[in-house]
């Protein structure tokens, strides 16, 4: 039996304050060593919150977390102090959706990478700088020696993204959390970075959770895909299963909404309707108000989770029957 690198059980995350937001609702997800999972889902569906919870980055005062998270056998939700510090960086690192969350504007990018390496690997400054240089080279930043001395505001959007990737990989984490790490990269650099991630993953058996909106990127980088909607995983399977045989109506809508064949100037079809308010915990199918196949029973209770094979699941009453192509 393989043990899981990441084991998330019945996770719920609620933001309290002026308004309550039920951002994650009863989410269960596993990742094995050396595996790359792409997390797809609508804007606001809880992808970033899931990753931030894994790194324990949410403000404790305003967040209520329930459930269990284990990473490499460690109970993440009870970590504190030095152990938490070591966990972040040595065990797990993250490429953030916004560079502002990862990089400090008053230090050069070289110092920031070197400092992270020194803190976790206890090596000399000179060695740390040379690691930083090597990482910048690997993420294909031109003239890396000079770029080490740049401040974040002196770099382009795509360079910043690559610096964050370099920073996250510099300590060779066991688990990489990558939140839309290639949105600011052109197609030629993007594919190089995806190939680099695939190499590194093979080279040191790193597990990756990769958030993306781009199905093409998910196909290039992942073995598995999980689809989120309103803080829940509504469908999960291998990349091939999800792309070739999507079962949940939301997944189908998401795959259909691509621009490849849209005529210029024609109106685009978004999935009609808006995502739910998340002010209360869902007690029925969250997608029902927008689902073309919704029935009364979808609105009455949470849909059953259909499990066709060990690591494939679909949360929909119609999961069993091949759906009419919408």
């Amino acid at each position: 039996m393989t043990t899981n690198l990441v084991d998330i059980r019945n996770l719920s995350v609620r933001f309290t304050g002026a308004r309550t937001v039920h951002a994650i609702n009863d989410l269960t997800l596993t990742l094995q060593q050396g595996e790359t999972l792409a997390l797809l889902g609508e804007s606001g569906s809880g992808k970033s919150v899931t990753l931030k919870t894994l790194l324990r980055l949410l403000p404790p005062k305003r967040t209520q977390i329930d459930g269990a998270i284990e990473v490499n056998g460690t109970d993440v939700l009870t970590l504190s102090g030095r152990k938490l510090q070591a966990y972040r960086g040595e065990e797990v690192s993250m490429v953030f959706q916004e560079p502002g969350l990862a990089l400090d504007p008053v230090y050069t990018v070289g110092d920031q990478i070197a400092e992270a390496v020194m803190r976790h690997k206890r090596i000399s400054k000179v060695e740390a700088i040379s690691t930083a240089l090597d990482m910048l080279r690997r993420v294909r930043i031109p003239s890396p020696e000079r770029r080490l001395k740049n401040y974040p505001h002196e770099l382009s959007g795509g360079m910043l993204q690559r610096v964050m990737i370099a920073l996250a990989l510099a300590c060779r984490p066991r688990l990489l959390l990558a939140d839309e790490p290639t949105t600011a990269l052109d197609a030629t650099v993007q594919i190089q970075i995806l190939l680099l991630l695939r190499d590194l993953q093979k080279e040191f058996g790193m597990g990756v959770i990769f958030v993306t909106h781009d199905i093409g990127v998910a196909v290039e980088v992942s073995e598995r895909i999980a689809v989120m909607y309103a803080g829940q995983i509504v469908e999960e399977g291998t990349t091939r299963e999800i792309i070739k045989d999507p079962r949940h109506p939301y997944t189908r809508g998401l795959l259909a909404a691509n621009l490849h064949d849209a005529a210029r100037g024609a109106r685009l079809n978004a999935i009609p309707g808006a995502p739910p308010a998340l002010e209360t915990r869902p007690d029925a199918c969250s997608f029902a108000p927008r689902c073309p196949l919704a029935e009364d029973r979808c609105r009455a209770a949470l849909p059953p989770v259909h499990v066709p094979n060990a690591r494939r699941r679909v949360a929909c009453i119609h999961a069993n029957a091949p759906l009419a192509v919408g």
Partner: protein
């Protein structure tokens, strides 16, 4: 994605309270000539001598009224810098920016420019004030400019970008998701009744369904009010969908510019060609194995002489290493322009005119 209704051509009826048209319909809304911006950089690992990043070097183009110009190019090639120069956020080293017939820095003051031109920034987090609620952020600019009913405007636009005002108006920027923040920035730019909107990676954090909603909104506003857009994006499918013309940059220069259908069916510059062929495969059984563009990444601090792409070009010939190719039409008077010796019969390139690209 399916098609429901054809779009009628844009009518130039400006928003009631936007800046007035000065030059008439034939006057391009924006003319950029020989724009240049260099940044100084610190020395290399051993100190080294002073150097500059040639971020934008001799860029020229026009944007017609009601047109959408898409800008694509390699990461770091100068797209955001060009955008910042256009809205007067950075000072140009040299060159001209002519907005509706008026020269920026001459007849046109920065203040007047800002009245007509808005920008959606690439970093949605850094461009919002963390202490303002979302509603206040969107209403702020409209209020400063003395436009009517700023709060009503803000709430209406929130609704149109898919952020229910009742749920989101009172939240702060850190309390929303990345895609929600991007939409706040779009609403904020539109709330100021601009004539020209520069969108820098403005939909990159949106899933395909929400992205479709935002692109529909941009198309509606363009049709209703004759808005003009400059749309910078790495997503070629999005750029194709929204743009009338596409401009391709490489290492601070314009290497190709053409109507979208022309460039989609045949890319005239070898860089454009590799860029278009690098789009991810959609087939899990057939993933990309080799990057389509190899070679050393370009270096804007010390760009190669001659054609800046020559260090990575499959068709490089000796002339490419010494002579800078001019941006010129492929056919006399045509709209499709490229800067490559392959298209210049007199260049001395041994493959010139041989149609090796198709």
């Amino acid at each position: 994605m399916s098609v429901t209704e054809p779009q009628t051509p844009p009518l130039p009826t400006p928003l009631a309270d936007s800046a007035p048209d000065k030059g008439g319909p034939a006057q391009p809304l924006l003319i950029v000539r020989d724009l240049q911006k260099y940044f100084p950089v610190r020395g290399g690992i051993l100190g080294g001598k002073k150097a500059v990043v040639q971020a934008v070097d001799g860029v020229s183009f026009e944007v017609r009224k009601g047109e959408t110009l898409g800008i694509v190019g390699e990461s770091g090639c100068g797209k955001s810098t060009t955008a910042r120069l256009l809205i007067g956020l950075l000072e140009k080293d040299s060159g001209e920016i002519i907005y509706d017939g008026q020269d920026l820095g001459g007849a046109l003051s920065l203040r007047d420019l800002r009245r007509g031109v808005q920008m959606v920034f690439q970093d949605s987090y850094a461009s919002l004030n963390p202490r303002l609620t979302i509603e206040d952020s969107i209403a702020f600019g409209a209020r400063i400019q003395g436009l009517s009913d700023p709060v009503g405007r803000a709430r209406k636009l929130m609704d149109r970008v898919g952020l229910a005002p009742d749920r989101f108006a009172q939240r702060y920027p850190h309390e929303v998701s990345g895609g929600q923040r991007q939409r706040i920035n779009i609403a904020r730019a539109l709330a100021m009744s601009p004539r020209l909107v520069v969108l820098d990676e403005a939909v990159s954090a949106l899933d395909k369904s929400v992205e479709a909603q935002v692109l529909n909104l941009l198309a509606d506003l363009r049709r209703e009010f004759g808005l003009t857009y400059i749309f910078i994006s790495h997503d070629l499918n999005v750029v194709r969908y929204i743009s009338d013309r596409i401009l391709v940059m490489y290492l601070g220069e314009v290497v190709e510019i053409a109507p979208v259908d022309d460039i989609w069916s045949s890319q005239a510059h070898p860089y454009t060609k590799s860029l278009f062929s690098a789009m991810p495969s959609m087939d899990p059984d057939n993933r990309t194995k080799e990057p389509p563009l190899a070679g050393d990444p370009p270096n804007p601090i010390n760009p190669p002489p001659g054609c800046r792409f020559h260090t990575r070009c499959r068709f490089v010939d000796s002339v490419c290493k010494t002579k800078v190719p001019a941006l010129r039409p492929l056919t006399a008077g045509g709209q499709h322009m490229a800067a490559c010796h392959l298209h210049d019969l007199g260049s001395g390139h041994k493959l010139a005119g041989k149609d090796v690209l198709s």
